[in-house]
C-alpha cells in the first residue's frame, strides 16, 4: 500500500500546483482537452471551497474530478479511495491503511456468513410472501388462460366422439307430421348428447351439451350442461342449460350479444333443432322459476318448446344470472342435413368432417 500512497502524493501536489498556474496557462495556445477539464474542475473547486487554499490535502479530494481524469496513469483504486474518504481526507494522509479496510468492509456482506436468527426469519418470511404472490399470479393465469385451452381441447375431442357415436346408432323414428320434432332421448348423468351451434358467437363456435349442471365434469369440461328434469331438445317444456361465461372454454361468453331473431341450433343424434332467441333477463341466483315450462310462472304447464340458457352476470361475479330465452322455430331431421345457416360454417365443417354424422 505504501507504493500507492506515494503514487498518490504527486498527483495531489501536481494538481494543486496547476491550480495556481491555471490563470497564466490560460494564454497558452491550444491546451489539451484533459488540461482544460482539469482547469475547469480546479476553478470550481477553488470557488466552492476557499479553505482549500490553506492546505494541500483538501484539493486531493476536492478535485476528485481531475484525479479521475488522470486516473488513466495512476491505478484507479487509489484516487477513488481518497475521493470516498473525503470526510477524513486529512486522516487519510496519515493512515494509508484506510482504503484496504474499506474494501474489506465492503466485501463482508457478500461473504457466505449465516444470518442471525432474526434476519433469517425476516428473510424467510419475505421469501414466503413473494412465493405466495407468485402462486396467486399463477392461479390467475391458470384460471383465465389454461382452463380455456383445456376446455376447448376437451370440447373438440368430445364432439368428435359424439358424432362418431351417432354415426353408429340408428336415429329415432320420425313422426308422421314433418313439423313435429323428434324428442331427444334422455342421456345418462354427465353424458354428452348434443352440440350447440350459435352463429352469433362466431362462425367456428360449437359446444357440446351434457346432462347435469355440476361444475365437474360437465360445466368445466363438457361445454354447457342441461338442468336435470328440464325438457329435452324438441320436447314441449323448457330445455334449460347452464354454461360458463368466463373461464373453462367460456361457452356462453357472448350471451349478452344475442339479438332477437338469432338462431341457436342444437344438433342431436336425431337432427337439428333451431331455436330462435327472443329475450333475456337478469335475475338473482335463486330464481329457479326461470327454468319452469312457462318461465317466471311455475304454476302453468305451457305448450311451447323453450330453450333457456343461464350464465353468470356480471362477468367474473356470482351476484346475478343472465338468462336468455329462445323458442323452437324449426326442426331438420338428420337425414336432411344441416340447416342452411350452419351448413357452410367452420364449426359444422369441423364437426361433420371428423365424425361423419
Amino acid at each position: 500500500m505504501s507504493t500507492s500512497h506515494s503514487a498518490d502524493q504527486p498527483v495531489g501536489h501536481s494538481s494543486a500546483r496547476s491550480a495556481g498556474g491555471s490563470v497564466a496557462a490560460g494564454d497558452q495556445p491550444l491546451p489539451s482537452r484533459r488540461e482544460l477539464r482539469r482547469r475547469e474542475a480546479e476553478a470550481a473547486a477553488v470557488q466552492g471551497e476557499p479553505t482549500a487554499v490553506y492546505s494541500d490535502v483538501p484539493p486531493v479530494f476536492e478535485q476528485s474530478q481531475p484525479t479521475h481524469a488522470q486516473a488513466t496513469q495512476a491505478p484507479p483504486a487509489v484516487p477513488q479511495g481518497h475521493g470516498g474518504q473525503s470526510p477524513q481526507g486529512r486522516l487519510g494522509e496519515d493512515q494509508p491503511q484506510l482504503p484496504p479496510t474499506r474494501q474489506r468492509r465492503r466485501r463482508q456482506p457478500t461473504a457466505k456468513e449465516p444470518l442471525g436468527p432474526i434476519r433469517g426469519t425476516v428473510r424467510t418470511f419475505g421469501e414466503l410472501c413473494i412465493t405466495a404472490g407468485l402462486v396467486l399470479i399463477l392461479f390467475v393465469v391458470w384460471q383465465l388462460w389454461w382452463t380455456d385451452i383445456q376446455a376447448n381441447r376437451d370440447n373438440e375431442v368430445l364432439a368428435d366422439e359424439l358424432t362418431q357415436d351417432w354415426a353408429n346408432q340408428d336415429p329415432n323414428e320420425l313422426s308422421d307430421d314433418p313439423d313435429e320434432p323428434v324428442v331427444a332421448e334422455p342421456a345418462g348423468k354427465n353424458e354428452a348428447f348434443g352440440i350447440f351451434y350459435i352463429p352469433r358467437f362466431g362462425d367456428d363456435y360449437y359446444r357440446t351439451v351434457a346432462e347435469g349442471v355440476d361444475l365437474e365434469p360437465v360445466l368445466n369440461r363438457m361445454g354447457v350442461g342441461r338442468y336435470p328434469n328440464s325438457a329435452m331438445p324438441g320436447e314441449v317444456g323448457n330445455f334449460s342449460i347452464a354454461g360458463h361465461r368466463v373461464t373453462y372454454g367460456k361457452p356462453l361468453n357472448q350471451i349478452a350479444n344475442l339479438r332477437p331473431g338469432d338462431e341457436i341450433i342444437v344438433q342431436t343424434k336425431d337432427g337439428f333443432y333451431t331455436y330462435t332467441f327472443r329475450n333475456f333477463d337478469i335475475i338473482l341466483p335463486d330464481a329457479v322459476e326461470v327454468l319452469s315450462p312457462v318461465p317466471d310462472a311455475p304454476d302453468f304447464k305451457g305448450k311451447d318448446r323453450i330453450l333457456t340458457m343461464t350464465a353468470c352476470n356480471p362477468m367474473f361475479s356470482a351476484r346475478e344470472r343472465y338468462v336468455a330465452y329462445a323458442e323452437l322455430t324449426d326442426w331438420t331431421p338428420a337425414t336432411d342435413g344441416a340447416p342452411d345457416n350452419i351448413k357452410d360454417s367452420k364449426a359444422y365443417d369441423k364437426v361433420s368432417k371428423n365424425g361423419g354424422a
Binding site: R123, T124, E127, L128, V135, L138, F139, W142, Q143, W146, T147, V213, L215, E216, L219, G225, Y227, A242, G243, H244, R245, V246, T247, Y248, L252, I283, L284, P285, D286, A287, V288, V290, L291, T310, A311, C312, M315, F316, S317, A318, R321, V323
Partner: protein, 56 residues
C-alpha cells in the same frame, strides 16, 4: 429459504440451475394439475346455474 435450497442442490451452478428449473416446473405442474382445480369452485366467477339456494 431459497438460499438454503440453492445450497443443498448438488453440482456446480449450471447443474444447480437445471435442478432449480426442474423443481420450479414440478411445483407449477402440481399446482395447476391438483391444487388449483380444488380451490377454483370457491372463486366467485364460476357459478353459472340457478339453484334453490342461490349457490352452486
Amino acid at each position: 429459504m431459497y438460499a438454503f435450497i440453492w445450497r443443498i442442490l448438488p453440482g456446480n451452478w449450471v447443474v444447480k440451475l437445471i435442478f432449480a428449473l426442474i423443481l420450479i416446473a414440478a411445483v407449477v405442474f402440481l399446482l395447476m394439475q391438483y391444487v388449483f382445480p380444488v380451490i377454483a369452485p370457491y372463486m366467485p366467477f364460476n357459478n353459472a346455474t340457478v339453484t334453490e339456494t342461490g349457490q352452486q
